[in-house]
Symmetry: C3
């Protein structure tokens, strides 16, 4: 085992040396970075503030709701200030960062009632739109679409206050849980319903109106990313007007593409030009080639 | 900091006010709701009961398997009764709810051997069907398809006993872990194999036979959900007969659509009409447009 | 409650009986199996070794980086030896297994600097390729593509040393977190960029060059798996040469299919034959059928 220890020591030394190459990945000052775990924990608590009756804080009772809620909010604000300070301190003095973080955190928390009002419309839209929804409780408890949308609405609030990095960590957390990737920079109206959801991508500069319904595998994306960083900030993703339904697997691409209000986009449609309002745009079904086969398991041809 | 405290207090007050609007999201009595975390924990323990050797309860040894198993089962039954009572108490008295929950929990647990028998056929199907599977151990340890199917089989057992909300929380947990969304109401035969799996959707009224094989991105869905809640309970999703293989990205839609036994559905096929048995249905490949380009990186045209 | 206890006892007995049928799922000796939770924990720690500054070990400071790193590495090596011993002991004596595990663990850890060098190129590629990336920090913190690629690179290192089961548990963990399914047997060059990622499948015998860029929903897969286990080890998945970009939803299938260097594969292309180098291969867009409709919500036809 002595030789094992020696080998380990050589190993450690060689890795320590490897950290001294000055690359991005060699940054070791984790205490100068935001704390991803703390941000995810805060996101979960923010969801509890939005839907107070749907997660378990066993001591929560209506007659001391004020105390519980106070504690929960104070906890969230504390961590929010902490994390915003960390992401701001690269561009300003620590004291200024902290002061700014306090202002931003309060400004964000004041948006919560407006975010909750939106959340209720999203619940309503899910219940109205999904025959498989047995109750609104079921939707709030377990619909991944509602989860991803609510996390997006919270992250978007921070994004609008120009808080860096944290909003994206929040939406990537939701992406990981749901397979729904909504960039915090997107703009999305009320009564938004996502069904199933896995594989949905909604890009940074997408604009979505009210009463829009989207199914699994839909991409609202850019036409090409060959420009890379030179495209930063430019509108690269589509605009979806009010009351549009987009069925599974459709791709709508490009910053100048507009889907007019009350239109329906069929499954798997590939769209790079605008669609007028009150229009059903269906991808012509690819003809199927049917071939009877001598069936190995079945043994008969029918 | 005094002013910070005052601001926090105003914030808390405004949020408390926001909870008094009587909307769905304003329900704050979490102790009258099922406990999602407890249900997920119970699901993980049920999986350990199905595959006892594949997760780590370090004290588990064959000579006291009975004690360990007893403890595990008692724990699961205890939580099951607890959670079923919670979801039933909206529609009946607490005492009746508890009594019913006890009966339902035992009735469910008695199905476990039958569910385990199905699980073994699913393991066999995965090993037979996947050249990348190095061993059955590897399948039981890490195949997301088997995970999602087994959670579905457990949830379906509860669903058949008319237990509300809990089955969907279980399958949405599996959806979150695997990207595979199987509604607990679906009916699925033995030897079911899902490969890769991300993006699969299997709707509530789908019926799937034995020896069926499904790849990533497949949707077994409804034709339109414009009817919303008015479609509740109606068969909206397809029937897949025995020995059918459905390749990646195919969509099969509609409650009257039947895929006959021993048929093969090609990748990306979009199917809204029935396909006879012993038939290969392939979407005609979309012709490719190939264009040589002056290659920026390569600099030569070939 | 007495009768409940009796019923529970009958239940336990019937389940114990069910474990004695000698099926794969009846194996109950979990202590002879690797420990999935320990392997996932080890994977998270390996990621911390690759990107030391991006996760939170609050005590980590530059002036005692050596101590922290030593502890982290020793911990990882300890668990690695433990788990490799467990997966090897089916095919060799326990002592030989342990000795082999020690050698393999050290051999693997010595690859870490090379894996880190690759990881830095992946970070560079993501930043260069994505206009939505605000900083390299954001990429390392929260891009699921980088997460899945890095876990793959680590798992691939173990796979090359012929360690069974563990590499697949690692990549399936990443699959679960990201929706990106990269088999540890695949071969992937430097500067690899995956954007969004959900629904990507990269099969066991895929070969990918340098500077390749892949979007969500792309499958690099086999043409048919009807051969099942008889196809084990045969090259069934495509080869992607340097500087290729593959847009969302494209499927490239077959072991003899080669995408030549500097080529671009368009969204949703379905490719089963080779594509020459410096070529743009675009699936001809499926024509859209546009139909004005009497709009229920809007009430006007435009």
């Amino acid at each position: 085992m002595d030789s094992m220890e020696q080998k380990l020591e050589i190993l450690v030394d060689s890795l320590l040396l490897d950290y001294q190459k000055g690359r991005d990945i060699d940054r070791t000052l984790s205490y100068r970075h935001p704390d991803k775990d703390a941000i995810i924990d805060m996101t979960v608590k923010l969801l509890r503030i939005v839907y107070p009756g749907y997660s378990r804080d066993k001591s929560f009772r209506i007659y001391n709701a004020k105390h519980n809620l106070s504690m929960l909010i104070e906890d969230v604000v504390f961590h929010l200030i902490e994390q915003i300070t960390l992401v701001l301190q690269d561009s300003m003095e620590r004291d200024t960062a902290r002061e700014t973080a306090q202002k931003l955190s309060l400004a964000f928390m004041e948006q919560i009632p407006a975010i909750r009002a939106m959340a209720q419309t999203d619940v309503d839209a899910a219940f109205a739109g999904d025959p498989a929804a047995a109750s609104k409780d079921e939707i709030i408890f377990c619909y991944p679409g509602l989860f991803a949308i609510t996390v997006y609405r919270l992250a978007h609030g921070l994004q609008q206050l120009q808080v860096p990095t944290i909003p994206r960590i929040m939406t990537e957390y939701a992406h990981s849980v749901t397979g729904i990737d909504i960039h915090p920079g997107a703009t999305i109206g009320d009564h938004f319903f996502i069904d199933h959801g896995t594989g949905i991508v909604i890009g940074e500069t997408t604009v979505i109106g009210s009463h829009v319904k989207i199914y699994q595998g839909v991409t609202l994306g850019g036409l090409s990313t060959r420009g890379g960083q030179s495209l930063r900030g430019i509108k690269r993703h589509p605009t979806i007007e009010d009351h549009v339904t987009i069925y599974a697997g459709a791709s709508i691409l490009g910053g100048e593409t507009v889907i007019g209000h009350h239109s329906v986009i069929g499954a798997n449609a590939f769209i790079t030009d605008s669609v007028p309002s009150c229009t059903t745009a269906v991808s012509l079904e690819q003809p199927l080639q049917m071939k009877q086969r001598h069936c190995p398991g079945c043994g008969k041809q029918e």
